[in-house]
């Protein structure tokens, strides 16, 4: 006898299992119409692969898995796809979802099946692909895609087969084990093969199913799986609880069983795996218990996925008149259906049509007296009375501190609550509110980060600009001081300052332009080279892709076209830069135009500088009188030119008219000042005093 660990808490509600155990598994008649919701599992909905009007064979794929966590969907019978539309589905919220509607032709024509009873010779990954292709999802209730669960990120040392079936009324797994134990045994072997032969294989079964246990034990003869009978106590069949009972280990909060080297599969899923691998049959049917006081012939049915609930209930002698609650799933965790036209899905293990006797009266809840019965019953060791208190107060911090998220919603607390408070409903609502808040927090965090990043970026750009300005200013100062030092005015006159300033500025500009133009040229040339390489690569790739593969081929072609366009643009820019003949500064004066970006422009600028320097040298060698005269002549020349420009601008209606007028006025002023100086200089020539312009 293997050691087991006690389930903390738990309850023992009336089992009510015998009602549905009176008959062997039955087949309901083939329904005329089957409804296949695209989202029967946890994860991404499947994607339809059939069109309306298409004829499909039994077992043919009608929808593909999409993404990592998803499952394929198969036609449960042969027939015609009547519609792909939203239909009411079985869901706690009573909503609708997209369904494939299949009208059966009654012929049950199978698609060709590829059975692999030689699975042991296949690689685990190949077997896993077979399981994935069969669209198998967890059949115990949650409906998690099995193939995903069977490729864990951690090494697995224990495989647990969940045969506990702890909810009252449900006997689907019980009869499956009684009638089809050999298939389950093979299924376990397949799972072990897929998981790389884990060290331990345990089957957990509650001790209220002796027939099933003995049938399974017979079938397991020679297998290394260990059948462990555990005390009947709800919710021992919860995945986390069964792991705790069988191994004494706990799944870390927020983690998966795989994190502690355990994979847990339901016994129904195990049988579906056997069918999928050894017979090639996809998951198109399951065993569902139909029971409750409102069913005259309670029992278990092998029902096609997509069978309307109404159709199945009729097969069990359902009497709507005495049905108080129609529950999909068990009485502890199942949800009520508002209508009977929803379909049976892969995870439907039970339909419970409860009569008045079986339904609690739903009294008005009394005040919580914190009696603590709920905490005694909680299998997760929570304090349900405190959670209830904080859920009502919407104190989410306290709820988190009390580990609301570790609540498995088994309903044991609400079952024992003497005040009949619907505790689980409070927890579900609080969890939903917390989920919404977390979503909103994620969105607002994103927005905040985006905004802060934007702000940082703008500030950085502003700082860089300021730094550049500062640098330019410094460079200009340095340039000014060098020129000033090397060529001091010998006679102390300041009249030449204007000219020397202008020259220095022009020199600096030209230097800057020269370097920037060269850098730009080099950059453009490099760009061009890189683009050429890219183009070559892309073209060689294109030749590798066959033209039949339209998608990738088109993409590659588009990429090449993009590179070509870019190359043309860069080449154009380069050409323009090379050929550019910008206006050469005609004058070194204040009105001098910025130097061009071309090499020739640079040369011209250099010439101009040379001229200016020559002039400066001449000026220095001249006598003050000559200098003044010379200056006056130049000013007069510039004035004439400026006046001409002004006249031109006036006739053309140039928008820079004001600037030209200002320039003329400024030159006139300078000239007048110079003439005044001359007069004064002549007048006081004898005294040898000289006054500057300024």
């Amino acid at each position: 006898m293997r050691q087991t660990w006690p389930l903390p808490g738990g309850i023992h509600p009336p089992e009510n299992k015998s009602q549905s155990l009176q008959r062997p598994i039955a087949q309901p008649p083939l329904p005329p119409c089957l409804v296949l919701p695209l989202n029967q599992h946890i994860g991404t909905p499947s994607v339809p692969r059939v069109c309306v009007g298409e004829t499909v064979l039994k077992g043919q794929v009608v929808a593909d898995a999409e993404g990592m966590i998803s499952a394929a969907l198969h036609a449960p019978t042969s027939g015609v796809i009547k519609a792909i539309e939203t239909r009411p589905i079985a869901h706690p919220s009573g909503g609708e979802d997209v369904c494939i509607v299949l009208e059966s032709d009654g012929e049950e024509r199978w698609i060709e099946l590829a059975a692999r009873p030689d699975y042991a010779d296949l690689a685990p990954a190949e077997v896993l692909a077979l399981i994935a292709r069969a669209g198998i999802t967890g059949m115990g209730g949650a409906g998690f895609p099995s193939a995903t669960k069977l490729q864990p990120r951690h090494a697995i040392d224990t495989l647990i087969i969940n045969a506990a079936e702890c909810e009252p009324y449900i006997t689907a797994d019980d009869v499956l084990m009684r009638e089809r134990a050999p298939g389950i045994s093979v299924g376990i072997d397949i799972l072990a093969h897929v998981l790389g032969q884990p060290e331990t294989i345990l089957i957990g079964i509650e001790d209220n199913k002796p027939e099933a246990a003995s049938a399974l034990r017979d079938a397991l003869d020679g297998s290394r799986a260990d059948l462990v009978e555990i005390p009947t106590r709800y919710p021992s069949g919860g995945e986390k609880q069964l792991i705790q009972i069988l191994t004494g280990k706990e799944v870390p909060s927020g983690g998966l069983p795989a994190d502690i080297g355990i994979v847990c599969q339901n016994v129904g899923t195990t049988h579906a795996v056997f069918e999928a691998v050894c017979k090639g049959t996809p998951l198109i049917s399951r065993i569902t218990t139909v029971t409750g006081g409102a069913c005259a012939h309670a029992g278990n049915f092998e029902v096609l996925i997509g069978t309307p609930v109404e159709h199945l209930l009729q097969a069990a002698g359902y009497d709507q008149g005495i049905c108080q609650r129609l529950i999909m799933g068990g009485p502890m965790m199942g949800f009520t259906l508002a209508d009977t036209d929803v379909p049976v899905v892969k995870s439907t293990n039970c339909l419970l049509a409860a009569d008045a006797k079986e339904s609690p009266q739903n009294n008005i809840p009394q005040a919580c007296i914190r009696c603590g019965l709920c905490a005694e019953a909680c299998p997760a060791n929570l304090l349900p009375q405190q959670l209830y208190w904080y859920a009502r107060a919407r104190d989410y911090d306290k709820l988190a501190a009390h580990n609301l998220n570790d609540c498995i919603e088994c309903g044991a607390c609400a079952y024992v609550c003497p005040s009949e408070i619907p505790l689980v409903q409070y927890y579900r609502a609080a969890k939903g509110e917390i989920r919404v808040m977390q979503q909103e927090k994620i969105f607002s965090d994103h927005a905040r980060i985006r905004f802060e990043f934007h702000k940082d970026r703008m500030e950085k750009a502003e700082r860089e600009k300021a730094a550049k300005r500062e640098q330019r200013k410094k460079a200009a100062e340095v340039a000014r001081s060098t020129v000033g030092n090397s060529q001091p005015a010998p006679d102390g006159t300041t009249a030449t300052d204007e000219d020397s300033d202008v020259v220095r500025a022009a020199l600096a500009r030209v230097q800057a332009n020269k370097s920037s133009t060269e850098a730009q040229l080099r950059k453009l040339e490099r760009n061009l080279e890189a683009l050429d390489t890219q183009l070559n690569n892309a073209q060689s790739r294109l030749t590798e892709i066959p033209e039949s593969d339209t998608g990738p081929h088109g993409k590659a072609a588009a990429a090449i076209e993009q590179i070509r366009v870019k190359r043309a643009r860069v080449a154009g820019e380069l050409e323009a830069l090379k050929n550019q003949a910008p206006e050469t500064p005609t004058d070194t004066g204040a009105n001098a135009e910025p130097a061009g970006q071309d090499q020739r422009a640079v040369d011209k600028a250099a010439e101009a500088i040379a001229r200016a320097q020559q002039r400066m040298a001449e000026q220095q060698s001249m006598s003050p009188d000559d200098k003044r005269r010379h200056q006056r002549e130049r000013l007069e020349k510039r004035l004439v030119k400026a006046r001409q420009r002004l006249a031109q601008a006036q006739t053309d209606g140039d928008e820079n008219l004001g600037a030209y007028a200002d320039a003329v006025a400024s030159l006139e002023q300078k000239l007048t000042a110079l003439q005044n100086t001359e007069t004064t200089a002549e007048a006081i020539a004898s005294s040898g005093t000289d006054t500057g312009e300024r």
């Binding site: 909060s253 965790m333 007296i369 905490a375 501190a401 003497p418 689980v424």
Partner: protein, 355 residues
């Protein structure tokens, strides 16, 4: 007909709040019988007066709060409060003692805090303490049990008892039957060794363990408490911890029975309101800590406080004060005694906020 949409679970155990309260009431019967047997009609009259007042006050407040009266009276919680208060009061106290105490318990201590489930303090103990502080003379006038009354004297019969409780009905002197309780006697026998007290005092010469009559009253409440434990109305943690805390203090301070000794263990366990407190007051779920560990700490500290007040305080008994003081501390205890949840390595703290 559309089917009803109701959330799971779709089954419910038979236990109801009303039944929990009824179990409690039933469990008080042995203690009540013992009290009546040894001290006469007084306790029954107390319980009756307190109950009538409590139900009346509950109904009045519920009407004022515009709630359905029947719904609230049916849960029997007011009756439990009244019965516990009535059991704790001295028998044959004037009629207004249980009336005032019961009214205060229900109106002030229970409903002004929000009614059942929301009261931070045990209403019966609040009522008791209000009376004890306000009317010390009436509240400390305990009777002598029938077994140690002098020869020829007997406890008043029903008519005399009613006259004592309702002075308007007639005049009967009560002093003939009153007597200090064993705890009081012991508290005021400081010049004597424990052995001398036990050998000389009529309480202990007539009693088996810890005072004639009182020991049976306590055993009655102990029996009722065991019944409740078997019925799983509460867990063993708080009462056992309280008795253990009290025992530990009594043993540590016994000092071989000198004249300054705190008294023998059996006196503390089987006298005064020890068992009533352990199984009917400390176990009040509304005002105690919630987790197992929390209830252990809560109960143990109540036990320690009872001893401290009994020996070094001004009152011969101290269950009410000890319980009220620990009622204050219960939320604090709760913060630090969360159970370790499945999948967590260690127990959390309710004060830890997510950042």
């Amino acid at each position: 007909m559309p089917l009803a949409l109701i959330t799971s679970p779709h089954q419910h155990a038979a236990q109801t709040t009303q039944r929990v309260m009824q179990h409690l009431l039933l469990a008080t019967v042995p203690g009540l019988v013992a009290l009546t047997w040894h001290f006469g009609w007084g306790t029954l009259i107390n319980v009756a007066l307190a109950s009538i007042t409590a139900l009346g006050c509950e109904a009045a407040v519920v009407v004022l709060r515009r709630r359905p009266v029947g719904f609230y009276l049916r849960d029997c919680s007011a009756l439990v409060t009244a019965v516990l208060l009535g059991l704790a009061l001295p028998p044959l106290a004037p009629w207004w003692i249980p009336v005032v105490g019961s009214a205060f318990a229900i109106v002030i201590a229970k409903h002004l805090y929000g009614g059942l489930g929301y009261n931070p303090f045990n209403p019966a103990m609040v009522g008791y303490v209000v009376l004890l502080i306000s009317f010390p003379v009436e509240m400390t006038r305990w009777l002598a049990p029938a077994s140690i009354l002098p020869d020829g004297a007997s406890l008043p019969d029903l008519q005399a008892s009613l006259q004592l409780v309702f002075p308007l009905l007639g005049n009967t002197p009560i002093d003939a039957f009153t007597m200090a309780t064993p705890l009081d006697t012991f508290k005021h026998s400081q010049g004597l060794l424990v052995e001398q007290v036990l050998a000389e005092n009529v309480w202990f010469t007539q009693g088996t363990w810890s005072g004639a009559g009182w020991e049976w009253v306590n055993l009655g409440f102990l029996a009722g408490g065991c019944y409740l434990l078997l019925q799983r109305v509460f867990t063993w943690h708080a009462p056992v911890a309280m008795l253990a805390g009290l025992s530990l203090m009594a043993l540590l301070n016994y000092d071989a029975g000198s004249s300054t000794s705190g008294g023998p263990l059996d006196l503390h366990l089987l006298s005064g309101a020890t068992m009533l407190g352990a199984f009917f007051i400390v176990t009040d779920p509304v005002t105690s800590a919630v987790s197992h560990l929390g209830r252990l700490i809560y109960g143990a500290l109540v036990g320690v406080l009872i001893y401290i007040i009994r020996i070094w305080g001004n009152y011969p008994d101290a269950v009410a004060f000890a319980v009220l003081l620990m009622n204050f501390a219960a939320p604090f205890i709760d913060y630090y005694t969360l159970p370790r949840t499945y999948g967590h390595e260690k127990r959390g703290r309710a004060t830890k906020m997510k950042d």
